[in-house]
């Protein structure tokens, strides 16, 4: 029986981070690929596959509740430039674990001061290990 992967622990710079449920997503940094045809002749073609290495960036995105502590974390991660490490750990026994090194927040994260406001975090990283 397959189980949905929705119970993931986020660890950033060796510290666990509590995040808003159902807000976590990531890209492994496998990059984008394209295919085109090369003509052999006689109505035949062959596929030419290429990978765009410039798109091989990982990404980790999540939101966390707007608290004073989380506001401090946001600033620390941003000011840390690309010296952050993000780890995603699955439930015990799942064997799911990904490490994203040289993680940086490229944008300027927004904090919402609403009653149920969140801070939106998006890291740009090396491809997942």
């Amino acid at each position: 029986m397959a189980t949905q992967l929705n119970d993931v622990m986020i660890i950033i710079n060796n510290l666990p981070v509590a995040y808003t449920a159902n807000s976590l997503s990531w890209k492994d940094g496998l990059g984008e690929s394209s295919v085109r045809n090369a003509v052999i002749g006689g109505q035949k073609t062959e596929q030419v596959f290429s990978q765009d290495l410039s798109t091989k960036f990982g990404m980790v995105k999540f939101s966390m509740p707007s608290t004073i502590e989380n506001e401090g974390k946001k600033r620390t991660w941003k000011l840390n430039k690309n010296n952050n490490v993000v780890q995603l750990i699955g439930p015990p026994g799942s064997g799911f674990a990904k490490v994203f090194t040289q993680a940086s927040i490229l944008g300027d994260p927004e904090t919402s001061a609403a009653t149920d406001g969140n801070i939106e975090i998006e890291f740009n990283t090396n491809p997942a290990q």
Partner: protein, 144 residues
């Protein structure tokens, strides 16, 4: 008291400066008053264990020999296991001490719960044993 290094026997990875590296050693620093609530129960447990084991010793020559030999970390851990104290509580106190900032991976990064979760039991007991040898036992025995 100077910091002491403990070289890890098993692999341990941690995050530092944007990288995920394998740790080589843990630097242990002497406790300050900030760690008193973690150190005091450990010293008490150690003293109780020593007295429990000494009460069970019938061989006087063995006891004299024990007083002369330097006790290593592994022996202190054995003493704790042999004592009548609650070993689970002792190890929980040890965990709190390790998380209190006086244990630094590769001399730089404080051990956090996620790092501690990956430490092997051998290394955990090794760290505790060496901390007792270098900082707790001397303090208990009057600074010897």
């Amino acid at each position: 008291m100077d910091p002491v290094r403990y070289h890890l026997k098993n692999s341990l990875k941690y995050a530092v400066k944007g990288d995920h590296l394998s740790a080589e050693f843990v630097e242990m620093r002497p406790p300050t008053y900030r760690q008193i609530d973690k150190v005091a129960p450990l010293k008490q447990a150690l003293m109780s264990a020593i007295l429990d084991v000494r009460d069970n010793k019938t061989d006087d020559d063995g006891a004299k020999k024990g007083n002369e030999e330097k006790i290593d970390g592994a022996t202190y851990i054995l003493l704790l296991y042999q004592g009548k104290g609650d070993i689970a509580r002792i190890m929980s106190n040890a965990r709190n001490l390790i998380l209190s900032g006086v244990f630094l991976v590769d001399g730089e990064t404080s051990i956090t719960q996620p790092i501690l979760d990956d430490i092997s039991v051998d290394d955990f007991e090794g760290l505790l044993g060496e901390y007792i040898v270098n900082f707790l036992a001397p303090s208990l025995m009057g600074g010897r």
